[in-house]
Symmetry: D2
Subunit: 342 residues, 4 copies
């Protein structure tokens, strides 16, 4: 068999580990050959390929990013997108496709499989860990550790200073990174998108923490939002000159806490640091196993599926399940973190 591989969406530590495992087992055990498509769905859409053999994957296991490049190109935004992809696969003699990506990339894979008959297997990828069909996605553990290490270092300052310390982490729709890193780092408040926050309660927790002679550490998802109508600083004011967008939720928190309590804050905004660099052992292990099981699925003809972690086992689930709904932080897990608030 000749198999195409592509990676779509944002960076995520572990992408290269998936690619390496696919190629090593595909070539070494099954005797397949491979072709890489460049920049996600743009590759098969435009016929842009990159050689992909055992030599190409040597040494990439510990490296962040993806040797195949990535993009957010969506072939279904073109009238003939699916046809062009089928044509490219035919032209390159590709018998099957492995698509590694998040909700968008796998959504396209699901439609191509169901509507256009393309033989595709998916590998789930999202740094935010918000894909429903799998216990974890690779990259998440790395992001959580990076955020936790930042929180660890802030505790030193919290012991001796009088400022509120804010750490803004990734998570537009789901608060998994904030929840895990905040709990692992011993944060005093964790704010996540699933639970619009009450600024009065946040300020009360801030003050109660200061009463213990330690400064509070607030971990906040970039997508966290206040309860409607509760903020002193009006949305309209903040929008002037686009400053809300620029300064993000940590800037809003800084301003609001200052206005209400008179306390100064200092924010750490980790940004893309969370999604780059070398993966943790957990992420390399998970990504490698996803790769091994994805090539097995191709070998078995189990198209229209994706790999998923359930406990310690890798299973196959329908691609459409993966993209049906976002996995959000449930109430009871957030309640576990709340034990440590204040």
């Amino acid at each position: 068999m000749r198999i195409g591989v592509l990676t779509g969406g944002g960076d995520c530590p572990g992408l290269n580990a998936v690619i390496r495992a696919i190629v090593r087992k595909g070539v070494g055990v099954y005797g397949h050959s491979f072709v890489g498509f460049r920049d996600g769905w743009r590759g098969p859409l435009e016929g842009d390929t990159v050689p992909l053999d055992v030599g190409a994957v040597r040494g990439i296991l510990p490296r962040g990013g993806t040797i195949l490049g990535s993009s957010r190109t969506n072939p279904y935004k073109l009238a003939d997108g699916a046809d062009r992809i089928r044509a490219t696969l035919a032209a390159h003699g590709v018998d099957a496709l492995i698509a590694i990506g998040g909700e968008d990339t796998l959504g396209v894979a699901s439609r191509l499989s169901e509507e256009a008959g393309v033989p595709v297997v998916g590998v789930p990828k999202t740094i935010d860990n918000d894909l429903a069909a799998t216990d974890y996605t690779f990259g998440f553990d790395t992001a959580v550790n990076i955020a936790m290490e930042a929180i660890d270092r802030l505790h030193t300052t919290a012991e001796s200073h009088h400022r509120v310390l804010i750490v803004e982490v990734m998570g537009r729709h789901a608060g998994w990174i904030a929840l895990h890193s905040g709990m692992a780092g011993g944060a005093n408040v964790i704010l996540i998108p699933e639970r619009p926050f009450d600024i009065d309660k946040v300020c009360a927790l801030v003050e109660s923490r200061f009463a213990t002679h330690y400064a509070p550490i607030i971990v906040v998802s970039e997508g966290a939002t206040p309860l409607a109508g509760t903020m002193v600083i009006k949305d309209g004011e903040l929008d002037a000159f686009g400053h809300v967008r620029l300064q993000g939720i940590s800037g809003v928190l800084e301003a609001e806490i200052k206005a209400r309590t008179g306390r100064e804050s200092r924010a750490t905004v980790l940004g893309h640091v969370q999604r780059g660099g070398t993966p943790t052992a957990f992420d390399r292990w998970l990504a490698t196993r996803f790769g091994l099981h994805a090539i097995d699925a191709v070998h078995d003809g189990a198209f229209g599926t994706m790999t998923a972690l359930r406990g310690t086992r890798i299973e196959r689930v329908p691609l459409r399940d993966a993209v049906r709904e976002l996995k959000l932080v449930p109430e009871e897990l957030y309640a576990e973190a709340e034990v440590f608030f204040g």
Copy 2:
């Protein structure tokens, strides 16, 4: 309620995180009070206690070791061990006990619960990850990351040198640390206790790796052993002056590979570095959740159980299940690693 807590067995990053979670939820949510017993079962045996309140657990989340001390004391080696423990609990007004430890510590807990009616809840702890009733134990992820980082650094040397590189990791009976770190680090050979190794095959893999102009990296569990009767260097010779024990399996491999292939080796022996220091985010998360669920179990009167990770959920399983058998690396997981050998 007044609740006793103890930690038994070897060091394991995350012990303090468990203790902290127990106390924070026990005091803050349930209003219980606590007493710490020092040095595992020695504490309740001898009535040696340490104060354990919210102040005592402040700042311990990221710290390795255990604030309660540990030991391998087994009360069942004394005729009146169980009686003495019951007497201590009564003397201190202790209504329930939480025992954090491995096979031995939990084995005692199981017997105390079943045979002596002591109200005890267990929390599983083993750096080796070889407890059957739980997907993972805390400390394991930390050990795997430390070993992986060592392997990562060795790849630099493997690119330019002509020596066999050996990394000896923990694991007397089970090869989980070797398997995970070797796979995450991209090792060329992984030797584990579950699979006695064929030194001829090891040497063949070594030579095939040199043929690619890279030096081989061998990850070996301290408890790995050769197939009987296959080694050039006789056991008798090695036993002289106790040198086998001193130099460990990596020393034996060095000598044997030299004798067979003429290749020099250089070993990295990580030793206790793997079980000390700050835990990873995964281990802090797991340890914290084990602590929260252990105090819930006490509160619910679910004695004779221990916490266990199943997927992403913490469940209660009978203590006796935990100690019934060792969780060994299964054939199919080792086969996944073998894809990358040579």
Copy 3:
């Protein structure tokens, strides 16, 4: 002798290492005793002390922060500050004082020594490395490594993305952290307070970098400023609602680059993460040696001096030299970094 010790100013990894070395050598070699003053100059001003013996310094070598607490209290803002300090020293039988701190703390130490006859020895501390009389100060190497690791991780994203990546680091008046971390991390542009930047040149470097198919990484000191009158976004606009102060220089750069080139940016703002947590080996080594040589200076009666690193030797320099002028990044060092711009 009985010797007082205090730490003043902001956090800096290595403070505890200094204190430990002073006490270990003072007690173990010279037979002195110690008293700690709490929160910088507030301690001797108000007679607020903390016990300081070998037990008190056990285990603090790797820990960030300071066991003595810190503050920015300046006794010379009080009419009778110097007198109150002398009175406290007399009341506690203190024969000499070791003051560990930055420009402000050592400035007070210098005046107390010269004007009030207080027998004081200084140890220089500034995370920004901007003290003139010493090659390096401890804490700086730690901050540089933290910033470099962030830049390292951003390179992954720079390989595949189209956004400008900005890293804001500490340095209000001197650009040492930006210079060292930017050079060690391979930044494409480094902006420091000593060199007001030309936003046109920055944008030109940004575009030239994109032309190589990599995204640019800009490292900017928090105190960097644009050349007067060169920014599209007027200062007045930015000042509305205090947003400039809140979003800092990285927010200003984001807005300005967007306005000029249409490019989106993503900022990483490290904040207090840079000054907390465990010190690097270099900082522990330097801090320990500063402590050893400070107690030697006290023992020798060399008051009015502070420890300084010159090459690999610790020397004594007059306290007044330390605070005479800020050590800024010289032209020729910045020119070394410019070789790698674009």
Copy 4:
């Protein structure tokens, strides 16, 4: 000008940073072109070259090892070695050579410059930091940090265990790595090659440490040796079957401490982990500056010199000075460490 570059001797983090700086400034500022010689002096001896331009050095700054390869080939072991090197340089139109290496590599460079008129500039490299003419060499700071992190983790175990903990680090002739890492890590005993150790004193320190209820941590250079005639275990016995060589100094210490005190030990042997992987900020900064100043020296025609760090300045010193004598740990620095023994 056309300039050749080679790297000789053992691995050392920072080699690639030197090469990158040479090429970036050589091409970008001076307009020179480059040729890489493969595997140290073997390259120019055999005419084995590798292309070396700006593209070749992209992304190598953070990577351990050397893109040029290395070897211990000594052209002066051949009768016509110098002639063959001159012939290769002529054949490739090479006007000058930059040799990056340790005592051996620079010794050849010195002779080639003085005896054979080859225009060569040296860059000093030794992980052991034992080159006399420079304050520090790159790679050393990385090795020290790796060893210190291992010691940090062992402190957890030292708090609760009863075993002697031994860390064996690099250093055949000079104890710099042991001294710095041991002092930064808070070791209780440091054994270095410059000071043959008295095993009685080591055992006394071990016992005094146990008396404080902590286990001792011994850091030992691989080249440390006992005072002649002081060991219980005779050299002859240890030599049987070559076991001394295999188990190294830490194995000898284990056996000897056991024989004298009955205490069990557990050794961590870091091996090549210390010389691989990504360099610290200090090492990247130093290596980059060495590279920049080496190409300046070539441009200025300052042949027969090498770069050296003196304080914060890079200077030029005669190549012959670099190799005249080994830089050993002086008495007074070891005495600083001894303050913390026991």
